[in-house]
Symmetry: C2
Subunit: 478 residues, 2 copies
């Protein structure tokens, strides 16, 4: 049995486009989080796979009946959890084209255009973000689209290990390597340290500056000196621009100065794209001094997961660390040294043409459109933060960071009561299905996070959330 005939695909493809258009048009009316018990989806699906083909209509009916009610609707305008992960409709067009072409971009030679379009877009975005030209291919560095910031952190750590001591490729790690983060650093760094064989003991938690969640450059300098004196080998320092919990920003410039020749990787997964706006360009202060920089297009840059943007100052570092070439991958272009083989910038060998979805986003919005989107969310968050500040029943847990507002309920009955009330209010909001929030803990206190960033979130959604928060808080206070 051959594949679908292209004409039949046209008919079914239209039906899927119709399904998506209908789903997206109505997603704001669905409960953001389905009410679902473990196993309930499995129980509704057949236990064995069909011998004979079924129709697309039947499958779409199953999706409507079984999948949609048991889905958390990340594209809802009332999704304020984690960080919104925009799969904009513009980006879907590029992702569809990527599937249509169906190429493998592992080597330049296995599809030259896939590699070069990615290079052009990454160079262009570096410029649009105001990154130092050293991060472009013309400047000797370069960017690549990783699946996630986690993978970006891992390959960066591997490049840092290799730069620190190239014997790593043959002899492995030696137990003296150390990696420097803060308590607020994303867990992907701890995971990268584990994956790379360093073990948790290699992870150094740098204390914050007094009265701040941000990494203390002085403390970092002292730890580096002490570790070196103890015969240990610092390999990576990871400051964060916009932590996941609260959006805090580590002082990159001072951290880079303290790190000296240790590889510095800036994790700006969420916040980095805001640097498209000149008024947020200060987020990147000091990034011109570091070795690598990561920000996610699949969070706040409207691009469907997966599309994490990783730039390195020296384009040779990742291939030096990661390249392994069996006979069947040898080819003249690679051996000429004139091309980039992106397989050597990542762990997997295979590679989708991810640049296409980034291209349809940039083409569809234009840089001005992307900036407008970020500005709208920041303005909405600023308004919400003002309401929180002016209401004695709530308090800001930390200052607003861009479009992230972290707040707590105030009961007047002390911290424990406040924490319990905050948790209960959040759970009631989430159970209502009218919005979705997630939480974090700051200085031992339970905190609700309102992360504004869905493409379709408007002022009315934020106002409705605030109204719901106040109502639930009144109910919880009793």
């Amino acid at each position: 049995m051959a594949d679908l005939d292209p004409e039949e695909f046209r008919r079914l493809g239209y039906a899927v486009v119709d399904w998506i258009a209908r789903y997206r048009a109505g997603v704001g009316e669905l409960p953001v989080r389905g009410d679902v018990e473990p196993g309930s989806v499995r129980d509704q699906l057949p236990g064995s796979l069909p011998e004979q083909p079924g129709t697309l209509d039947a499958l779409l009916a199953d999706i409507d009946r079984v999948v949609v009610p048991a889905t958390t609707h990340w594209q809802s305008p009332a999704f304020f959890g984690y960080f919104p992960a925009n799969a904009s409709l513009h980006s879907l067009l590029g992702d569809m084209l990527s599937g249509g072409l169906g190429i493998q971009g592992m080597l330049w030679s296995t599809s030259p255009a896939a590699t070069e379009v990615e290079q052009v877009l990454m160079d262009g975005l570096a410029d649009a973000l105001g990154l130092d030209p050293a991060f472009t291919f013309a400047g000797g560095g370069g960017g690549s689209i990783q699946d996630s910031a986690s993978s970006g952190a891992l390959v960066t750590l591997l490049a840092a290990l290799h730069r620190s001591d190239p014997r790593w490729r043959t002899d492995g790690v030696d137990g003296t390597e150390r990696v420097y983060v803060t308590v607020e650093t994303h867990s992907s760094l701890a995971k990268a340290v584990r994956v790379a064989g360093l073990g948790a003991r290699a992870l150094r938690i740098v204390p914050p500056m007094p009265g701040s969640p941000a990494m203390s450059p002085d403390a970092l300098a002292a730890m580096l000196a002490a570790d070196r004196a103890a015969g240990l080998r610092p390999v990576l320092v990871c400051p964060t621009v916009g932590t996941t919990g609260t959006g805090a920003v580590d002082p990159v410039r001072a951290v880079a100065a303290a790190a000296q020749d240790v590889w510095v990787h800036v994790d700006a997964a969420w916040a980095g794209v805001a640097a498209l706006c000149p008024e947020h360009r200060d987020l990147l202060d000091g990034v011109e001094l570091v070795d690598s920089f990561c920000t996610n297009a699949h969070k706040w840059l409207q691009t469907a997961f997966d599309a994490s943007l990783l730039w390195v100052r020296d384009a040779r570092t990742l291939p030096d660390a990661l390249s392994i070439t069996p006979e069947y991958l040898r080819n003249a272009a690679s051996e000429s040294g004139a091309v980039v083989d992106y397989r050597d910038w990542q762990v997997p060998l295979g590679r989708r043409f991810r640049a296409l979805k980034l291209w349809t986003v940039i083409n569809g919005y234009g840089l001005e459109g992307l900036r407008a989107h970020i500005r709208r969310h920041v303005a909405l968050a600023t308004e919400l933060a003002g309401w929180v500040r002016d209401d004695p029943g709530f308090t800001l847990a930390v200052p607003r960071s861009l479009a992230l507002v972290c707040l707590r309920v105030v009961t007047g009955d002390g911290p424990e009561a406040d924490d319990a009330a905050t948790r209960e209010v959040m759970e009631r909001v989430n159970a209502s299905g009218e919005a979705l929030l997630t939480h974090t803990v700051v200085d031992g206190r339970y905190v609700m996070r309102v992360a504004i960033g869905s493409a379709t979130t408007e002022a009315a959604h934020v106002a409705a959330l605030w109204e719901r928060l106040r109502r639930e808080a009144t109910a919880v206070r009793g």
Copy 2:
């Protein structure tokens, strides 16, 4: 600027579907490999990103003008290189739906249906392939969709390291770990060993059985014993079912017996899906004894990259090795232990709803349709291998393996002349654009690989390739 209006998306989505239908209908007429110089694509694109939005029509025109001519057409019916990576039109429908829903499946709680649909399909495929029920969730094991077999090998190695000594999570690797492969094992194992911090010295190349490329169980047993006696710690043995070079099959049953309590991971990335056909079920002989098994849906199971299927016998092993839980990911469902959180089965945190593209494939073809596809390719390869055998100007470098035929040109002037002629014939075929082949080296000899497996490859395409091979060989012989 908000996202596309859903109605506008409908119009543009139809246009993209039309583009894909047209591309796929005509891809067989395009040169399989574009004639392109390094940098030529970059030179044709603007050096900076647009401030204002452009139209989709203009972008599609750029794709037609710049991208398509510089693309290797992996979906061409005359693509016989590497292993074909089918992005069937059925699978694109599911991938589009995945983008449309735009969810994150990192935790069960972040989108329950995404996790449970994947569990159901992986259990169903385990059954359809004839895997031991221990690999299903009901049996205590379970399957997950990884981005690639490379990533599957990496997480498997990490689970094996953890099982071998749980102190790995805190103390890292200790330099005594050893991993056992053959010279024909995919380079992703060497890469996993490097990424995991073991260094190349940890990679043990087990010699083959006499007169065969397959791993010698006796040699393995001897190496394991010698390494243990030397104070080293065997952690992983990786037999291959269908090597990338020549499709060779290691004797899994005997290897597993020799490995005893060492983790055995079977890499069946290309060939494994053939076990859907009862007549190829012997490929899985002994797999019931191993710890993990991987096969790619994105090669021969019609599913667009990325979709590598990884099963483990013990569902706790991957989370035990990989889980790290910061506060903002804590949730009641995870803590209940009643759900699977697939983020703990992989390196990245974020996760697409990949199961949808697998679902549309299984629904669109039915298992019978998928089997028919595999059988058709094996029959075409069998026919080609017969032509090669019967032609004194060619020889089979190794016996045909499923749908992979490895051949050499025979000049009558000795091995060096044969190798040069084989290379030249292949390069002429590829330069013609009428087909694409890639090569390997077997016992020091240059070998052309004909990997039959594109969804649209028919008898006529294989006959045309054979005709072209004979013509070019005649020309090269002079």
